[in-house]
Symmetry: C2
Subunit: 645 residues, 2 copies
């Protein structure tokens, strides 16, 4: 008995420390644990397609310090092994290790300032309001009190504030009061004051002895089911100082919102999902602020958007009733919250604003996105807005009315759930041209050897494969189109995009029939939703004057190819506008001006939600769209013409 | 070396636990520590006049469990020793002890409902507003959502609230949102909601599944420099459910506000003072709620008043600049605060309101006090309000104008700083009549044997000693008036009020010349301030129509005797109204109706402060008042008449 106890305690002593970068999370694990299991224990997402069998290579990590031994695998070349890369699933931990998770590199997003609606001079979307944020930082000099005028510190502060700003109602946070007497006297009455406006009331949320500098920063954040993106913003002038984007760390708990909601149903799991998204955002804020020497205490305001489930998890709210009929969220319009209550690393009195949602399946990412388009500012023309993320949401209308619906697109265009998929991050093919004879040209984000394809690259590839006859209209490889690029192995047929020797991971970059079928389901879901929505409002496609396409495709989206695969309808090309991550852009606009915040509330109020799942024609519309470009070729005359050539 | 270490560690192990009731604070002390030192270490106040020499008997405690040995002292009879009483300063701790500090018994205060202005039917001060508190608890039944009307939980809640209450702006606390989905569904939409009004906005601060009961309680609290008092109130109907009052635990850090401010100047000391007052209030809330089975989670609102220094310490704000010229407080008007930020044991979202102060030396105890009098509601008559606490504050005026001043009275009338003094607590003589031949009749609070005298008893005694010639006009014992009651020992002359055998502590109850001189300084400070204030506004005493006297004298104050000693001016007796603890009464009124809160703000705005210390005639006024009743006997014709008899 004693012997057993002693052995147990000796074993317990031998635990090793594993440090995961870039999150800098350390955990202790017993010897022999593999890195994939350790990452799960550390609550970190590590992509794996083969389920830890050592065949897909997705869980490749870079080991920065510590000795280790890794089983060999065809999925990782000897060269990379020698460079310190290893498959997490095949590497046992028998030393203290520091390792880098490679998946959290910055995701390339279309910049706000690249938007065609963006007025670079004014740092704003043209037609929208000037910079007028809810948070202001001002310098004041309080007059010294005298026996005749011995007003309280707070009263003197209030009087000087009211001289500078037109303020009706005035308030002050307790945390400010606690140090007010000392702060005022430290530099003879010279102070820097931060005020936050809520309704008609301005509240003092921070006071410090004047430093001459007025650092006041904000964060705009789009919480996607798959990827999360932030802008770090100088609130004084609206300048975007830094941008960062990465996978949503909740991915380890499920790929789509339904699986996340299910995951949250066991005790402690909602908190876990909440902690994961907060960790992701804190990491992105830190990353966006990197090299700028910005203190988190100078970040006073976060403007957040995301789908309704993501916002519920962000706020630590029970998401269960979102997916149970009649699909009721806890709330659509979120009051201002304190960043410290959520765990965000900002100023102690930092405020968090979430854009309003319309309902369980049209969230604040959509209302914020609409803010970036002229849809809600034009009574004449009719526009269609499509946001393609893990879920797809569509809005049609104009200044007077807005109808909206949602569909489960799946994360294929975000690079998730595909063997060759990547978010629009370094190493992702973002543009691609496949020629008739199998020649292939592509452009890789960051210019390195390719690691995979992001949404825009996948659309280009799928269009090329289809147009040049490599695949049929159902997405199956054409037997007659024999080509050295087409391979067949135990997991079915595939198309070699690039040979291993030219790829970053030194293994062939392949798109499989499964991947193609995944992409077709996604584009089919989007197109059929689009089609049904327009039928519901009694408008044919050609009555739409403008199409705004939002999504995480990266910098570019080839509209022509998107039409060829039947993702977008076959209309005049000039009607289409790819606007990138409009949810993030909208969050940015809300942060900059309180009038935009009022406007987004008006937009949300105006929107009417249509439930497509209960439409009788839903299934027939969807199945019709599961072809390239569609069962009814007449809907795509320009594509028909090319194919018939 | 090893031997020494071993001894040390053995010694360290022998520490004893001392548990102090009623606060239930436990500390560890090394053996041999005396109880007085242990109480200090536990941050508890234990009165001692002799400084721990074992002669005054003030530090008598009752030991409930544990063995101990106490040195004998003339200050504690053997009978009491045998009953488990011991002098803290003479008792070493050599066992684990549980003991009761006797000083924290309930202090008797004049009940709100005893006020002549109180309308018992309406549970309100007549002429003031009806019950309309800022916190409301209502029952709602939310309709079940349907696919057609699937409003969010928050929206459905808002709609039902707006059906019940006229609400313009609506908000909801994050803590409520976090459980909203579950709480709503637990009893099929039946919920109980607590709302708090701030400005024009009603914020939901609590929601629970409907229980059929609507427990909603509030606390009114007067923080005095010496004593603290609370009422526990049923907010539904304004009923006072419990009352408790005790010493302010800060007393161990100094008797008056100046010494407290000085005490706060060392690091950590402000926090200590803050913790002590919070501990005192939490204890009083618990005591007031005793036997009522009231959960602290059902206490949603605290209405607090106190002098400006006490409010600063309560809020953990630097008090230093209150006493440094030009006497600037951090603030006079305090925003609503969260009870949890202060450490008060109430509902997690409980709100704290502090009545507004006028300046550093006229605090919210005075503005709240004025709310209880008709002063600010009458344009014709002129009234004078005097609050006699450790500091004295005076207000003169009517509905159109109010002038105010302050004086350092000292805590003599609160029973502090006198050998025979007690607050108006059990065992205190509250009424006393001394007859010419030395006969003495008195009434003791609680009916036990006397322990000491509270303010009203001291005034009666002083008047009796003076009128019957035991003391001269300077408060010195008359040598010619030989009497068995007059004694002389090393600490000077004294007058035996009651023989030890008839006293609770079995030692003679004596008033010394020092005590008398202390009382005369206090009454002199009040009277001279009164006199100077009226000179400042150019009004003679007889132009005042009503005198309102507030203070912790207990249930009664003999106006005749107060005039005889020169505390109050010699005017028609019907002009005087003793109103007890008007600060507490005002806090209660503010809690009950938001209109009273607005009214007290108007009162504070109307008040003009006069600094008496800078008046050239201040010293001569004061010294003139250091006689019984005054140097100028002409000011007190009725007294002169009696004495000349």
């Amino acid at each position: 008995m004693e012997e057993r106890t002693r052995i147990k305690s000796r074993t317990a002593k031998k635990n090793f420390k594993v440090r995961f970068l870039p999150f800098d999370i350390c955990i202790d694990v017993p010897p022999g644990t593999n890195i994939l299991d350790a990452a799960r224990k550390a609550n970190l997402f590590l992509k794996t397609t083969c389920g830890g069998k050592g065949t897909c290579g997705d869980c490749t990590v870079q080991i920065l310090s510590g000795t280790y031994q890794s089983q060999p695998s065809a999925a990782l070349s000897e060269k990379l092994l020698n460079q310190g890369y290893a498959l997490a699933c095949l590497t046992e931990i028998n030393d203290n290790l520091t390792l880098q998770l490679p998946q959290f590199q910055e995701i390339s997003i279309k910049s706000v300032s690249d938007s065609k609606f963006f007025d670079k001079q004014k740092n704003n979307i043209s037609g929208l309001y000037e910079i007028d944020p809810l948070v202001k930082k001002i310098d004041l000099e309080l007059p010294s009190p005298t026996l005749e005028e011995n007003y309280s510190d707070l009263k003197r502060l209030q009087r000087e504030v009211q001289k500078k700003l037109e303020i009706k109602n005035f308030n002050c946070e307790y945390s400010v009061l606690k140090t007010l007497a000392k702060v005022i006297r430290e530099k003879g009455g010279k102070i820097t004051v931060v005020l936050f406006k809520s309704g008609q009331t301005w509240t003092i949320i921070d006071v410090e002895p004047s430093t001459g500098e007025k650092n006041i920063y904000g964060v705009a954040c789009d919480i996607g089911t798959t990827t999360v993106a932030v802008h770090l913003i100088d609130i004084k002038n609206g300048k975007i100082l830094g941008t960062a984007s990465s996978y949503n760390q909740q991915l380890k708990c499920g790929e789509d919102i339904i699986s996340r909601i299910n995951y949250a149903q066991k005790p402690g799991r909602l908190q876990e999902l909440h902690d994961l998204i907060i960790m992701t955002i804190n990491y992105l804020i830190k990353k966006a602020a990197e090299s700028l020497q910005i203190s988190s205490a100078d970040i006073y305001y976060a403007s957040v958007s995301g789908n309704t489930t993501m916002i519920h998890l962000f706020l630590n709210l029970e998401p269960r009733y979102i997916r149970e009929e009649p699909y009721v969220p806890t709330l659509n319009k979120v009051p201002f919250l304190l960043s410290r209550n959520l765990g965000l690393k900002m100023n102690h009195e930092g405020k968090v604003h979430c854009a309003p949602a319309v309902g369980s399946y049209v969230g604040s990412d959509i209302t914020a996105g609409l803010l970036c388009t002229p849809i809600n500012r034009d009574s004449e023309k009719i526009s269609l807005f499509i946001d393609i993320g893990t879920n797809g949401e569509l809005v049609v209308g104009n200044k007077d009315w807005l109808m909206t619906c949602a569909c489960s697109a799946g994360p294929a265009f975000e690079g998730s759930g595909l063997k060759c998929g990547l978010p629009a991050t370094e190493g992702a093919i973002e543009q691609l041209e496949l020629k008739d004879k199998g020649e292939l040209q592509y452009r890789v984000i960051g210019g390195s050897k390719p690691k995979g394809l992001c949404g825009s690259g996948l659309i280009d590839l799928l269009a090329g494969l289809f147009i040049h006859g490599y695949i049929d209209r159902q997405g199956k490889f054409e037997a007659k189109k024999a080509n050295t690029r087409i391979i067949e192995n135990e997991s079915g047929r595939g198309f070699i995009i690039e040979k291993g020797k030219n790829c970053y991971w030194e293994r062939d970059l392949v798109i499989t029939e499964n991947d193609i079928s995944n992409l077709i389901r996604t584009k089919g879901a989007v197109f059929s939703a689009c089609s049904l929505l327009l039928k519901n409002v009694g408008l044919p496609f050609d009555r739409i004057d403008s199409f705004y396409i939002a999504g995480g495709f990266g910098q570019h989206l080839n509209i022509e190819n998107a039409i060829r695969i039947g993702l977008l309808p076959d209309l005049e090309r000039s009607k289409f506008h790819y606007i990138g991550n409009s949810s993030l852009l909208g969050a940015y606009l809300i942060l900059l001006s309180d009038k935009n915040r009022e406007l987004v509330n008006e937009i949300a109020k105006k929107m009417t939600y249509i439930e497509l799942n209960t439409e009788p024609s839903y299934m027939s519309e969807y199945t019709g769209a599961l072809f390239l470009p569609h069962t009814e070729m007449e809907l795509f005359p320009s594509v028909k013409k090319i194919i018939n050539c």
